[in-house]
Amino acid sequence: MDFRFSDDQLTLAESVRDYLAGTHGPEVLRRLDAEGNRDPAIWQGLADMGLTGLLVPEAQGGLGMGLVEAALIAAECGRACLAEPLVDSAFVGVPWLVARGQTDGLDEVVAGTRRIAVPHPINPWLADSEGAALTSVDPLRNLAVAEATEADDLLLNVGALMSAAQLVGLSDAMLSQAVEYAKVRTQFGQPVGAFQGLKHQLASCSVAIEFAKPVVWRAAQALQDGLPSAPVHVSHAKLAASDAAMLTAETAIQVHGAMGYTYEVDLHFWMKRSWALCGAWGDRAFHYHRVEEALLGGAQPIGPEHTFA
């Protein structure tokens, strides 16, 4: 029993964080927003780091890592508000293909020349896919109508897990933006962040985020280990992460005041991605009902001795 990431996992996540912080700042989001949303150079950079092949087995030229590492990196993608479809393709599509034994062509995924977008009936549309275009509130999200006939549970669970992981990263970033703004914006002769009215709201976001994270990591481990209870933990993670993100988004815009309502402040990219992901791969009601059914129906053992059931 050791609820900690290994040093290797932390180093990996940190290297992705540093890379994205250095190459994928808000100015990049603005350039993409003005120039067509996708940039092959950014995608190639992700492939060069090995991220497109993170979950591809080593036999196919990938890194052969697991959902726990992918969730950690998905959180970093959320933190950077990454626009490229790395998570959907490499952390959702790939593990689904691998689980089905469909490993042909994964070397192209590793190289970055092939992307995977798998439809599921729970999503009436899909990001970075082919089909009639739809417009998302998130200006950097390319949506297309997607028809799916097969309701595959693993696909749904991996999609929901990776959405939850991105949401905690997005929440961290929104909280950090609000804090930085509150430090420099002065009114009544002091930084507005010195007022308890703001401090307490921001502290509440911190509580929500820090107690959503272990739920996400636990869900990642449960899904990676193939626990029968994994779907409950994934839904729990999606609920906790969505609630933390919605609270943090609303608080962050409030802290920014009127500036938060402008297109000029960066916050809106993160906020809109959060809104989009809260509904993707199962909305709040879907995941709530899955948890409720397992709990009240008795399928999920509860009580102090069942922490890791």
Partner: protein, 387 residues
């Protein structure tokens, strides 16, 4: 990350479960906040100690079993699974004990820890004063050095367990010229010393558990000072860290409440609102989240890490979770929520629990103070009033 118990950990769980099954009182004890209930709870502490379960993480020489924090969590899970009583000993084993372990001399450890583990000496906290609540650095009670004694004069209040406990600990101003955090000293004292008057405070529920303490030239030997004169603030902050961070409220307590809440919901489902049902589901989720976080903190400490200001996040989370769970319970009970005893004569534990849960966001540093600490020390926002 490995979220599986080892065979040894599973065997330990089985051992705790068997012992608890054989020893936990079948009927709930009378509330700790009255003489009769206090005596029952102290008797339970001694029963626990007879099985060597007083505080499993302590070294054997101090009355523990030398176990690690994961084993402690397993112990706590089984304790609450079995419906174990609240710990009369909590100020000692969870707060003062770890503080003495960190700051005490070998003599102090040998003198104070074993009787603490055995439940022979029950400890009261004495932090707050009438003018120093959330603002603890405003403490005025004085301890004046006189030869090999301190002479304590002043007043403490909201002193938990003090109505009936044996010994107390708190911080006192040893440097009369000092202000705020400086010049304070952490002192342990016998509550039956000449010059101490206890005035029990009647609480919201009508019973008395905490008390005011009046010190009138109380002589305390200098060897009862912990970590040296003037170090009181740092020592007290460490104690508060233990209180808010890991020990005081282990997750099993809330997971057990969440489980009982699910059962209460099922019994009252016919007239429950959808909002109450969702609150029940949320209660399980939050209790689980708290447990995961505690396992993560335990792993961090076992790897040599420490709990810092993030203890404030913990305290906010568990206290507000506990209140929310009990609020949901009294809503589910409907009209019966007001009854102190149900028609069948059984005590309405949910009502008692709800009233107690209202103190959670206040004690151990109010949640407003915890949010300030979170904002200033974790998020880096400017201190209140900074220009």
């Amino acid at each position: 990350m490995d979220l599986n118990y080892t065979p040894q950990q599973q065997a330990f769980r089985a051992e705790v479960r068997a012992w608890m099954k054989a020893h936990v009182p079948k009927e709930p004890l009378v509330t700790l906040e009255c003489r009769e209930g206090y005596d029952q709870h102290v008797a339970w502490e001694r029963t626990l100690a007879s099985g060597n379960w007083g505080m499993v993480t302590w070294p054997e020489e101090f009355g523990g079993r030398g176990l690690d924090l994961i084993q402690w969590l397993i112990f706590e899970e089984e304790y609450f699974r079995a419906g174990g009583p609240n710990r009369a000993n909590q100020n000692g084993i969870f707060l003062l004990g770890p503080t003495i372990m960190e700051f005490g001399t070998p003599e102090q450890k040998a003198r104070f820890l074993p009787p603490m583990a055995r439940g022979e000496v029950i400890w009261a906290q004495a932090w707050s004063e009438p003018g120093a609540g959330s603002d603890m650095a405003a403490i005025q009670s004085k301890a004046v050095r006189d030869g090999d004694h301190y002479v304590i004069t002043g007043q403490k209040t909201w002193s938990s367990r003090a109505a009936f406990a044996d010994w107390g600990f708190g911080i006192f101003r040893t440097d009369p010229e000092s202000k705020r955090h400086k010049g304070l000293t952490f002192i342990l004292f016998d509550l039956n010393s000449p010059g101490i008057t206890r005035r029990p405070i009647r609480q919201l529920h009508g019973d008395t558990g905490f008390a005011e303490l009046f010190f009138d030239e109380v002589r305390v030997p200098v060897e009862n000072c912990l970590a040296g004169e003037g170090q009181g603030w740092n020592v007290a902050m460490a104690t508060a860290g233990f209180e808010r961070g890991l020990m005081l409220r282990s997750p099993g307590r809330f997971q057990a409440t969440a489980k009982r809440l699910v059962e209460l919901y099922k019994a009252n489902a016919a007239h429950a609102s959808p909002a109450a049902r969702e609150a029940v589901v949320q209660a399980w989720g939050s209790a689980q989240a708290y447990a995961y976080n505690t396992y993560a903190v335990a792993a961090k400490i076992m790897a040599g890490g420490r709990i810092g200001a993030e203890a404030s996040l913990n305290k906010i989370f568990w206290s507000e979770l506990d209140r929310a769970m009990h609020r949901t319970a009294v809503q589910l009970l409907g009209a019966a929520a007001e009854l102190k005893r149900f028609a069948d004569g059984s005590v309405n534990q949910w009502l008692e629990g709800y009233i107690f849960s209202l103190s959670g966001p206040i004690y151990a540093g109010s949640n407003e103070v915890q949010r300030n600490i979170t904002a200033e020390r974790l998020l880096g926002l400017p201190r209140v009033g900074a220009g």
